[in-house]
Structure formats: C-alpha cells, structure tokens
C-alpha cells in the first residue's frame, strides 16, 4: 500500500473513531473532495482530530508551517500531513 493511502486511511479511521465516541453522524463515503466541516465533524471534532494525529504521528504540521493554511477538504488535509511527514 502506498504511503499516501496509509495516511489517508489513518486519518479517516480517526475521524470515524472520534465521531463514534461523540455520537456524531458522519458521511459514510469520506473522500478527497469531502469538505471537512460538512463531513459531520464540527470545529471541535476537527481540533480533536489534529490532537489525536499529533499524538500518533508525533508531529503537528499546522504548528510547523510559517504561513497559516486552513484546509477545506479531506484531500487538502491529508496532503498537508503527507508534506510534513519526515
């Protein structure tokens, strides 16, 4: 499996976990074009996702970047994590 797929799957799995812990309904077909804030995850869920990923991947791309970037879609979000993977 390519690195890319692994990262995307990891992120989707965490999204599903967070949603089930919080009792949220999320879209079943999460894909690159899914708009994050329309996926069923609210801004707090999104913050939890970044926190969980930092604990798991040991980095937080958003605090590493010089200019702020706010990803809109799942594809953009995954790309940022791939970019900063060491």
């Amino acid at each position: 499996m390519s690195e890319k797929l692994i990262m995307k799957e990891k992120i989707i799995n965490i999204i599903i976990e967070i949603a089930s812990e919080s009792g949220w309904d999320i879209l079943t077909n999460l894909n690159d074009d899914t708009v994050l804030l329309e996926s069923g995850l609210d801004s707090l869920g999104f913050a939890t996702l970044v926190a969980r990923l930092e604990e798991e991947l040991l980095y937080d791309p958003f605090s590493m970047m010089d200019e702020p970037v706010y990803p809109r879609t799942l594809g953009e979000f995954v790309k940022i994590y791939e970019q900063y993977a060491s």
Binding site: L44, A47, T48, A51, R52, E55, D60, S63
Partner: protein, 240 residues
C-alpha cells in the same frame, strides 16, 4: 493521579496553588524560571506529587514543544492553571515600549499558546479544567497598571469565548480574579496605600494566596462541572 499544570508555581499564588493541589491528591507539574527554597522543600516533602519544569515564557516559540514534552513525560493533564505573570507598573505615558511588549507576551501570548497545546490533551480525554488567573484590576482599574490591567482583562475575555468553544468536550474554563495579596509582585505596595486597601475591604482584611488557592481547588474539582465561563473573585470584598 490526575495531572495539574501550574505556571509560575515557584512562589506566590502559584506555589500556594501547587500546595493545595497536592493536598487535593493531584500530581503537580510546576513551571517557572527559578527554583526557590519553598518549592524545593515542597518537592522533598512530596516527591511523588510534584515535579518542576524550568521554562521562561518569554520564549513563546518553544511553548508547543514544552506542552508536548510535559504530556509525554507525565501524561495528559487534567488541569491547567495559567498563573505566571509579570506585574510591571508605571504610568502609560512613561512605560517603555519594551516593557509593554513584555507584559503582553508573558501575560497574554504565553498563556494563550500554552492553553492551545495543553487543550489538545483535554480534548482527547473529553474533559479538563482551565483556570486563568486574572485580577480585580481587570475590572476596577488602578493607577499605574493600565497595561497590566489590560492583560488581565484579556485573560478574562479569553476565558469566556474559550469556554464556549470547548464546553461540549466536557472542559471548563474559568477566571480567578484575586484582589490584593501579599506576594513579591505586590511588595512595592506598602504603607498608606496598603492600609487604605485593607480599610476599604468589607471584611477588614486582605485575601491571602491560600484563600485564592481554595477557589482554584474548587474550579479544578469534579464538583465544578457546571461552572464555566465565569469569574470567581477572591478579594475579601474589596471590589464589591
């Protein structure tokens, strides 16, 4: 053991909060720049209940890694007490720009950044307590403390919106507003001014750091789970 992070726990109110937290059964991560005799003594007395992490909050760029390190070493914190601050006074017209910038950095930027990163642990735990130490000066004003007062009012404002942001995750955010307490920060205020503060207080005395630490103890406890976005004033009634 639940972890509580207390900034500026080397002396004054922070040290009293650390003491109170130990007696409430928490493990304290005390943050500050300089080790003091009192803190050393507390660490010797309760080696399993308190650790010291040296940090200078003027290095705001390192706060993210400080938070990551603390979490890695001690686990996800339950509570954060943003207490460290500087109390530089001086009338605005002559207060140096560098001092204004420093007040804003240490008293606002640093606690905001630390909260941003410690909050992550609380989001994952779906629970936690954040206490921002403000001051009655934030709402009453005091000659010579306009910038300090502005930083303390900023923290109270920070509390209110953050409480709304994180409430659904079971995290409470509150402000503690102490009145005058005798610590190093206030050591310059003596004599007549001090007497007049005492005289004007309805209770006829001043609140102590221990009094303020009791309020922190309540806000950190499970019992305060329905209290968020508010200010608890501990000032022996001075500002009422």
């Amino acid at each position: 053991m639940k972890i509580v992070l207390v900034t500026g726990a080397t002396r004054g109110l922070g040290l009293a909060v650390a003491r109170q937290c130990i007696s409430d059964g928490y493990k304290v991560v005390a943050v500050g720049r300089t080790m003091t005799e009192e803190l050393t003594f507390l660490m010797q007395q309760y080696p399993d209940h308190i650790v010291f992490e040296r940090y200078d909050f003027s290095d705001t760029a390192g706060i993210h890694s400080l938070a990551v390190q603390i979490t890695k070493k001690y686990g996800r914190p339950w509570g954060l007490v943003n207490n460290a601050a500087i109390g530089r006074d001086g009338v605005l017209a002559t207060l140096h720009e560098r001092d204004i910038a420093e007040l804003i950095k240490i008293n606002i930027e640093a606690p905001v950044l630390l909260t941003k990163y410690i909050l992550r642990s609380m989001l994952m735990n779906r629970g936690g307590r954040i206490i921002n130490v403000s001051s009655i000066i934030a709402s009453t004003g005091f000659n010579g403390l306009s910038v300090y007062g502005a930083t303390k009012a900023a923290l109270a404002g920070f509390t209110k919106s953050l409480a709304r942001e994180v409430g659904k995750a079971g995290i409470t955010v509150n402000t503690l507003a102490p009145g005058y307490m005798e610590t190093e920060m206030t050591s310059a205020l003596q004599g007549d001014k001090l007497e007049s503060i005492k005289r004007r207080s309805p209770l006829g005395h001043l609140a102590t750091v221990e009094d303020a630490a009791y309020a922190v103890s309540y806000l950190l406890s499970e019992k305060s789970f329905s209290v968020t976005g508010t200010t608890i004033t501990v000032d022996a009634g001075s500002s009422c």
